[in-house]
Amino acid sequence: MLRSPYITNAPSVTVIMLKVLLALLPGIAAYVWVYGGGVLVTLMLASITALVSEAIMLKLRDRPIMPFLMDGSALVTAWLLALALPPLAPWWLVVVGTLFAIVVAKQLYGGLGYNPFNPAMIGYAVLLISFPVIMTHWPAPLALAEAKLGFMDQVNFIFNAGLPAGVHIDAISMATPLDYLKTQLILHHTVQDITQAPVFGVLGAKHGELVPAAYLLGGLYLVQQRIINWQLPTAFLGALALMAGAFYLADATHFSSPAFHLMSGASMLCAFFIITDPVSGPTTPRGKLVFAAGVGILTYLIRVYGGYPDGVAFAIIFFNICVPLIDIYTQPRVFGHEK
């Protein structure tokens, strides 16, 4: 009987997903440090919603529940979405976004391995379009906020939108650097003037820079573990930096520096955790470069010329559509064949 090979040696899907979750831990720790423990509640909410909705959908679709729940992919989607949301987002926003990501973007398309779009980014985009005000309302880093919320205050805010007596919403929130930059540029201020505002740090957001740095750390771990290919983050960050660099060199008063773009918004999260989703990305080596560079360029263009402060989610969804085409046109040369 022909059933070779008899031996295999691959990390299981579960191990791959768990390593991705592990690699997110430094980023989460930085998040807690900068914005407080509220993000842990958001993560918890997203995780529970993802697992429960995934189980219900698997049941409805008559699929084995435990093997698919244990693969860890629902948790990865939940965590990525939770980390993309504003840290003190109301509970129902987290639940709605996660439900949409798991039920519609993942399970209705056929579950693990069949979703053409990145579920977390679909969930994010739906929330951004439906609730733009809440989605662009970020709390200030604790170190900058006029009023500091404790952990229980944050929980109270997430579930009841309640603030301690005497604290106004403006005291805890502020625009993100990308957002602030965008609105100020419209008012004809120069980048140099704008970045003097307290929200800006050395590279990106003041204090907030710690978070992308932690994502970078986790991402490098994934590259070292061969969970993700180096091509994707390199091409994405490279393209983003090149675009930003070209515009910055041409007109430094209206365009911010490449370093700012790399360390702001969802750049680092995207580079190592979002464009690296294998299911909705291309599979060929050259295709990966095209895909990641495309997302990088489009992200920049949306940030600078689009209607939203950050462009990662839309750029990824757009290039998810292009994946089959990218794969077809980037097929590698087969051994013994002319191109």
């Binding site: 022909l2 090979p5 040696n9 899907v13 191990v15 791959i16 294998p278 060929t284 013994g336 064949h337």
Partner: protein
């Protein structure tokens, strides 16, 4: 050539994997020679190609080395008596083949004398290479690396290409297998003589011996043996990476040449032989010994793993006993390596020319893979594929029986090495899907070929019927003309020529119609055809070309004809 220019440089191929080797255990003891068993069962189908013609009868006494079955047809190999004795049976028995189906075997009962038939050495150094190749046809020697392709075919000049480089495959990249390793350690000098034989017959100016770096002792023995030879032989140690032992991968590794997918290596001036095969050729010429035995690795779940020199036809049970017997939890017997081997249908089969290794399997050695999950498109399989295929795409096409797409993505180039399955995090048995799709493609091609032949025949038949009709009409016309003999001579002659002209025109028109139809039939898959079919196709092609020329000046193709393809 390139190989000479790029001394010492290696040319990597894509991917490959590093499975645990498990080679050490079977190399602890020297090769032991197994005693002649009482009963030998020799399958006629031990090689690639047509089965040989049996020359002996039941009850006949034969001597060791006597020809039992001679090579018949173009690609075939002879079978000799491994010892002296009596032919006990010629009937269907289980053979070590993945199909698990019984096939015709010659059973030989040993008389215990091990008495040789008259055999003589050949002075190969002074013989005509063509005569040597002709002689090899009766040697029974086939590729001993596991492929079992008759060796004389590979040495025969094809009149088109010149062989510059002989590549000796000593990579032995599959885990567990150590028969070539041990052979090189113990018989390096004879192997080098074998290389000299092959090099002489091929007229190859250089020889490269590729050995994986996990066999330092074998490589050293080969180096020393090569130093004693005047031939241009170079031992090249290649990194241990499965599947470096695949001929096309090894050729690329050593020479940088990629054998084109639709060509043989000889067409780029390279021929490749396994170490054990060249040694067998040397022994055949130097001592007149045909292929009677081989080295088999017996390992895995056995008490004393090792290598054994065994006569062909020896029962596997005897071999297992020699290795101390299989341990209690043994549940499977694998012939070949764990990456590309197959499970034997039973222990009650015998050693064939292709049997390089027997692994006793147990759940602890080869656990059943966990249930498969959906493909997550991680492309680890593509990273591991030594042919640079896109296994994840081929998986979809094979699973959905989208054979056209599978062809387009070069499924036929898949060597079934198993690297993709080895690295799949979703535990998908990818190679199984490819085997299925490949067999479907072959079946589809055969059906198409059969349909085409049937159509050709039908067209001939229609043409013949029309011609006969015309001839009948003409005969009737002549008869009628004879009956009217009284009529004026001139008118009669005129009618005759008119009838002849009409007949010719009708035949020509009928033939043209048939040819025009044929000209629109797409060319068929012309690989791996029997010579008779090839000749037939060639004849058809000639007619087709002729018809095309006629049609080109005639009317355009009608939609009805276009539907043909």
């Amino acid at each position: 050539m390139n190989a000479i220019l790029n001394l010492g440089k290696l040319f990597k191929f894509n991917g490959g994997v590093h499975p645990p080797e498990h080679k050490q255990v079977s190399t602890l003891h020297p090769i032991s020679v197994l005693p002649v068993p009482l009963r030998l069962v020799l399958p006629l189908r031990q090689h690639v190609g047509s089965i040989p013609k049996v020359l002996v009868e039941v009850g006949q006494h034969v001597l060791k080395g006597q020809l039992l079955a001679e090579a018949e047809g173009n690609i075939s190999a002879a079978i000799h008596a491994p010892t002296s004795g009596v032919i006990a049976a010629i009937k269907d028995e289980l053979i070590p083949h993945p199909s698990g189906l019984p096939d015709k075997c010659i059973t030989l009962e040993s008389d215990g004398k091990d008495e040789w038939v008259a055999h003589a050495a050949t002075d190969w150094r002074t013989s005509d290479p063509l005569a040597l190749v002709a002689s090899l046809r009766q040697s029974g020697i086939v590729g001993l690396g596991g492929a079992a392709f008759p060796s004389h075919i590979k040495l025969r000049p094809d009149g088109k290409s010149e062989i510059r480089t002989l590549v000796i495959n000593a990579a032995e990249c599959e885990p567990y297998i150590t028969c070539d390793d041990m052979l090189m350690r113990e018989h390096a000098d004879e192997i080098v003589h074998g290389i000299e034989v092959a090099q002489y017959i091929l007229g190859a100016e250089e020889c490269l011996v590729g050995i994986e770096d996990n066999k330092p002792q074998a490589a050293e023995a080969m180096r020393i043996a090569c130093a004693n030879s005047t031939a241009n032989i170079r031992v090249v140690v290649v990194p241990t990476l499965y599947p470096s032992g695949d001929a096309r991968r090894l050729i690329h590794l050593l020479t940088g040449l990629e054998v084109p997918s639709d060509k043989r290596s000889t067409q780029v001036g390279i021929q490749c032989f396994n170490v054990a095969t060249v040694l067998a050729m040397y022994r055949y010429f130097e001592f007149g010994e045909p292929a009677l035995s081989r080295i088999v690795t017996v390992t895995g779940n056995v008490a004393r793993p090792g290598n054994f020199q065994v006569l062909f036809g020896t029962p596997f049970t005897t071999l297992l006993e020699a290795a101390g017997g299989a341990l209690a939890d043994t549940n499977d017997y694998i012939m070949g390596g764990p990456m590309m081997g197959f499970s034997l249908p039973s222990r009650e089969v015998s050693v064939t020319k292709a049997a390089n290794c027997i692994i006793a399997g147990a759940p602890k050695l080869f656990p059943a893979p966990p249930p498969a999950l959906p493909c997550i498109r991680c492309a680890r399989c593509a990273d591991a594929c030594p042919v640079s295929l896109q296994p994840q795409e081929l998986y979809w096409f094979s699973k959905s029986s989208n054979l056209e797409k599978a062809r387009e993505y070069h499924l036929s180039d898949c060597i079934e090495c198993g690297c993709c399955t080895y690295v799949c995090p979703s535990n998908i048995p990818l190679v199984q899907y490819y085997r299925y799709a490949k067999s479907e493609i072959i079946a589809q091609d055969r059906a198409k070929e059969a349909a085409d032949i049937a159509r050709e025949r039908n067209e001939f038949r229609l043409m013949r019927i029309e011609r006969e009709k015309q001839e009948r009409a003409q005969r009737n016309a002549q008869k009628a003309a004879g009956a009217q003999a009284a009529k004026p001579e001139a008118a009669n002659a005129e009618a005759d020529t008119e009838a002849a002209a009409a007949k010719k025109a009708a035949i020509a028109a009928a033939m043209e119609r048939a040819k025009a139809q044929k000209a629109e039939v797409a060319p068929q898959n012309v690989e791996v055809l029997k010579p008779a079919v090839e000749a037939e196709i060639a004849a058809i092609d000639a007619r087709r070309a002729e018809a095309l020329q006629q049609v080109a000046t005639a009317e355009p193709v009608t939609p009805a004809q276009e539907q043909d393809h």
